[in-house]
């Protein structure tokens, strides 16, 4: 079975407050970085997995997100398989 390298990115939904992002905005400001309008913090998961095909890999990665990696109440996710 081939092995795939995938990256899952999980981001907060629009409208969900992001305390970390807010704090980083502030901190960047006080560090003298101007022009920063917004920072939103998210997560990435670099997953190495065996699957029969790339589609199969994608499919199970989506399932992983729905079941565990993302809290769909507050987060969206995107899956990318490098092959």
């Amino acid at each position: 079975m081939p092995t795939y390298n995938a990256t899952v990115t999980v981001r907060l939904k629009n409208g969900v407050l992001d305390p970390q992002g807010k704090a980083i905005e502030g901190a960047l400001g006080s560090l003298g970085f101007d022009g920063v309008e917004q920072v939103r913090q998210g997560k990435t998961f670099d997953v190495v997995l065996d699957a029969t095909t790339e589609d199969a890999a994608k499919e199970s990665l989506n399932a992983m997100c729905e079941k565990l990696l993302a809290n769909t109440v507050i987060e969206d996710y995107a899956v990318e398989v490098a092959g």
Partner: protein, 230 residues
Amino acid sequence: MKTTIIQFPGSNRDRDMIAAISLISGQSPALAWHTNTALPDSDLIIIPGGFSHGDYLRSGAIAARAPVMDAVRNAADKGVRILGVCNGFQTLTEAGLLPGALMRNAGLTFVCKNVMLEVANNTNPFTARYAQGEVIRCPVAHHDGNYFADPATLQQIEDNGQVAFRYAESTNPNGSQNNIAGIFNAAGNVLGMMPHPENLVEPAHGGTDGRRLFEGALNMIETQFALGAA
């Protein structure tokens, strides 16, 4: 009344909860490991505080998907009282047994201190021993207690009187919306809260106001409480 306490690897206020229940009820609670698929029959099921599975990924996220949670879900559907404290609250939201989510504290740091809690709805066994609007002191100790729900859900929670406790006297330690410290599910038999009533049950704790929550949850009250009339 029989109590069962759920234990996950990384639970760490389970011992506090066992001590509190034993002290208040005079009976030591049953314990259920996260891999159990069935629970001893119980009148009260408690998910204690801690860092289940290290709180890695998201607080309570991995615990919420443990085998034992299906049993908890079934019990909840049957109307068994469920109490989730701190990590237990986070786990119940991750499991979808309570609405909303608990985000990183607005101050971003872990916070352990005493806060003031207002009883927002006492028409429920969990809170019946408190006066409506009564304000008590209670410890908090968490990193992710910042309650969030989308506007519609929030409205619903408020309209249904699902808010059990609010941070009072501007002691909101984490930025929670509407100062929410604890909420019921729509049916009123599931309570999740960030503060730690189990650390406020004997004089040595500097107060005993936490007792009444367990006394309420543990006594046999058959009458169904109407929510909403808060």
